[in-house]
Symmetry: C2
Subunit: 136 residues, 2 copies
Amino acid sequence: MSEDLGALCAGAARALAEAERPVLESHGLTMWQYVVLSALSTGAAASQLVLAQQIHYDKTRLIALLDGLEAAGLVTRAPDPADRRARVVRLTEAGISRHAAVRAAIRELEERMLAGLSAEERRALRAGLAHLANPD
Amino acid sequence: MSEDLGALCAGAARALAEAERPVLESHGLTMWQYVVLSALSTGAAASQLVLAQQIHYDKTRLIALLDGLEAAGLVTRAPDPADRRARVVRLTEAGISRHAAVRAAIRELEERMLAGLSAEERRALRAGLAHLANPD
DNA sequence: GGAAACGATACGCACCTGCTTATCATCTGT
DNA sequence: ACAGATGATAAGCAGGTGCGTATCGTTTCC
């Protein structure tokens, strides 16, 4: 009898996280910092609140996380001219290149971990995961 | 550009865990209790230590978890005759049927969440996840 | 223009987590 | 037989996590 899907997903996520931690550390980033950079890599966040919801992170603790990234020069917080309560968060040039470098390393590692799976299997794996993650 | 595999797995695992929590609750089990029952469903654990490692749970906190399951009459702890330091953990009859009931409900839910994926896609999804989870 | 809502921030709380230490019973190797 | 290793258990600790509350500036709406 095969395992529960939930257990399989959790196991795969844990294995990936464990394998990726050293890579992130060697680039001076934590998992959550990388998650923020990734979220911002497709465009600035309109506010810290939407950023927090996007990455499923507590909005009150996101503040300290952004403090760190800002101090490291990887992101900027600027008041939204259209609503000066909100802060628009975006990557700096340094943030963009740091993210690209880490992402490339992570991609390479994932490529290694997928060794043995056909292109079609990889496609189905990604499609299935995306399907589960988004109750469209 | 597609998302990181790690992010996809984590997202899918989170979505599944969220969907399954109400099911578990309605059967009076926590996620970890269900994990223990599942691990034991394929056979007794030779010791609490190996059980903890098998499910990636802290061995010192497993004790309280087993206390609860034992008090609920779902598992038994018996000294191993071959090594009386170790406690063999196994499901009771009630544990077996409880696990079967919850598992069936979870399977049904997972089936619903996989709606729209072909049989071949589901097979590839499971195969890919198992491949990632076990660095064979 | 004043009240209510909202975003960012700070702070505290309860819980979970992995980890360490200590104790006791039992086993193992010499 | 004795020393050291091992399993179960208890207790504690540091860090992480989600959640609630309070404050302050800003916006929205009547």
